[in-house]
Amino acid sequence: MAHQTHAYHMVDPSPWPLTGATAALLLTSGLAMWFHYNSTTLMALGLLTTLMTMMQWWRDIVRESTFQGHHTMPVQKGLRYGMILFITSEVFFFIGFFWAFYHSSLAPTPELGGNWPPTGIHPLNPFEVPLLNTAVLLASGVTITWAHHSLMAANRNQSIQALTITVTLGLYFTALQAMEYYEAPFTIADGVYGSTFFVATGFHGLHVIIGSTFLIVCLLRLIKFHFTTAHHFGFEAAAWYGHFVDVVWLFLYISIYWWG
């Protein structure tokens, strides 16, 4: 029994789970230090170690899969399940914030004037930048599908172009939202309206940034010939994540921007 006789991947010992756990501890204690003692050192250290762990762990995964061939069909199947379960958990994360929004907005209290939007709040016009943002994310869904089909058809130029446009759209969304945040007439401190608006859209924006980062990594890997026409799970996972982010935005747009 000198070699493995099963199709699964028994991973080599790795320091990244430990560094990741340490990073999580530094981040959380760093947050507490920032909130209560006005010091950002611990948190900065936490962010740095988190970043380094992520980069090196995922780099190792690319090495194990693309360069060493450990990602057989069963392994890939497990990764698919994993990504789907992760995205599902994120859906529930957002459900919490939508719950908070609807709890406060369906039965507005006397403190708010008994109406929603609360007295004194001037919401953003949903048919201005928010509508553009909707178009941008929907378009990114189209371009990433185009990129995927081009990849499967071995059309290198088109797949690179389409994925580049997808990334650009993601960055454009982030820039537009950042400008909206800066120009908004209300802040996170403006009662429950401000809280629900900025926490929900804020976490969504963070997820757009995460999704864009994932897609940029895919673009680099695509250019460096990592993917084959039949095996490119990293790309598919990024595409799923991008679609999820788009769907969350649609719910945000309908609930908070339009109905709200």
Binding site: T109, P110, E111, G113, G114, P118, T119, G120
Partner: protein
């Protein structure tokens, strides 16, 4: 009509059942009657009419609302920071 309102006011004991607010949480009932009283007063004053009929709403909110809420709301109306539409 004014007589029957006077009769209702004379016979008033406490706020009657209001099917608009059937549940245990009566906050909205208090709030609505507070608003309705002040809106009624304002409308009658604008028309130059008799505001006696508005007293019904006043009786109801006096029965239902915690005194601290009424005081806080009266203060805010004074300051111009009352969030409700009157």
């Amino acid at each position: 009509m004014a007589d029957s309102i006077q009769a209702k006011l004379d016979n008033y004991r406490t706020a009657p059942f209001d099917s608009r607010f059937p549940n245990q949480n009566q906050t909205r009932n208090c709030w609505q009657n507070y608003l309705d009283f002040h809106r009624c007063e304002k409308a009658m004053a604008a028309k130059g009419a008799d505001a006696t009929c508005c007293q019904w709403y006043r009786r109801v909110y006096k029965s239902l609302c915690p005194i601290s809420w009424v005081n806080a709301w009266d203060e805010r109306r004074e300051e111009g920071t009352f969030p409700g539409k009157i």
